[in-house]
Symmetry: C2
Subunit: 255 residues, 2 copies
């Protein structure tokens, strides 16, 4: 599945060689993973930093590790690279010294609590929402027309949550009628009702959050069981990741 560009080349002595060439084919391919098109084509993405790499390894999604640390032994397939090479691979100004090539996670069975994101476009917002989803037990996340979750900025904001979630990229308009045992809550700044009336939260539910500017699409709001709003004053709206955190906390807490 990894394909030729990502096969590992050890030297004839059986141990790894340090990659120092900036034009090495593997390094050029790793760098291409900065582009969404190439990530989609290969089904691969990069995570940076020891914390994320460890979580990638624990999740079983890690394929290869690249590091500047010659003593690193946390994974069977490791390539040692020089600092200039790491700088070329890394998405950040201060490269963390270790990156992992990971396979895109495969969707699994739909859980009891589902977060549905309708066109979330800011990488920081998507990452923060995924982090909160894992924290509050919304283990299934449906992504419809959102920023790519393997985008480096998204991955940094998730703090590794991407490796603990069941991520499903599909149409929300298709997903809702396919799950009649879930109660779906939309969010609607204009027509939603407050959380106060929501005394009994169903055991199986879905929470739908929308795009930063447009919110949830009207055609989605039209097929939910109920639409909610967080009552606020003196400002037009909350940040979508903040609203999502409040609503997920509310839907999971004991009433």
């Amino acid at each position: 599945m990894l394909g030729a560009p990502f096969s590992l080349c050890y030297n004839d002595f059986g141990d790894t060689m340090t990659i120092s060439s900036l034009t090495n084919d593997k390094i050029k391919n790793l760098q291409k993973l900065g582009q969404k098109k190439y990530r989609t084509e290969t089904g691969l993405f990069l995570v940076e930093g020891r914390h994320l790499v460890e979580q990638a390894i624990a999740s079983g999604l890690c394929r290869e590790v690249y590091t500047t640390d010659e003593t690193y032994s946390g994974f069977p397939r490791v390539e040692v690279v020089t600092e200039p090479v790491m700088k070329k691979i890394s998405d950040t100004d201060t490269p963390p010294g270790i990156v992992a090539v990971c396979s895109r996670p495969k969707p699994g069975p739909v859980g009891k609590h589902v977060l549905l994101l309708d066109g979330v476009s800011d990488p920081g917002n998507l990452g923060t929402l995924l982090r909160s989803a894992l924290a509050f037990g919304f283990q299934t996340v449906v992504l419809d027309d959102c920023v790519d979750f393997t985008n480096p900025k998204v991955l940094r904001s998730t703090q590794g949550a991407v490796f603990g979630l069941n991520l499903i990229e599909t149409s929300i308009l298709d997903f809702i009628p396919q799950h009649p045992n879930h109660v779906f809550f939309g969010t609607d700044l204009h027509g939603g009702s407050g959380l106060e009336g929501l005394d009994v939260v169903p055991a199986q539910c879905g929470l739908i959050l929308g795009n930063e500017i447009r919110g949830v699409r009207p055609e989605v709001l039209a097929i939910t069981n109920r639409n909610l709003v967080i009552q606020i004053g003196e400002i037009e709206s909350l940040n979508v990741a903040v609203a999502g955190g409040i609503l997920m906390y509310w839907l999971k807490k004991d009433h």
Copy 2:
């Protein structure tokens, strides 16, 4: 108070001239407002985009407007600039066509609900927290060793909330004992108690949130009335702006 570099120069005919020179002294000074040092020295900062400029004008903090739109008439002191000049002034890749020079807001009397931020360092997090503070009526915000709130990234995330808040830059360790009628809630991932026990919320209270890595300093936690934690699973912590949103919502809602 504006000082010579920001005084306005009209031509002899009484109307404004379009500034096209990238080396114009005013333009160079505006560009310098990208640096925190220069913002602190002058007591001035820039906001970009029509939405923020309108809020700056409404707040009384706007001093001058620079725009590429020759027909703009929303403020008495306007300078028309060319697009390359706007690009030089702007902090963004796609300049919004209008910016305002604003005076730093002056602290006012302390309100009933206070948000206290102990070393929040990420501009997006600070901006989002200020936006939520205004939404939930925490109109006084104490900033202790945080990223500068006039940083362009902070201002973008606030969505203009900075113009509706009473921002006080001071030591939290000094502030708490000076306000004995407020009940102060710290946040402590390790020693805090859950929100469930918090049935009666005091009419005057302060919520303290900490740095993204270190949390609230132990010496601050030691002088609060009570320390809280949001119960979560499968992940180490929530994003500070999400945690802040949940706690502010909780402290303001009817129980």
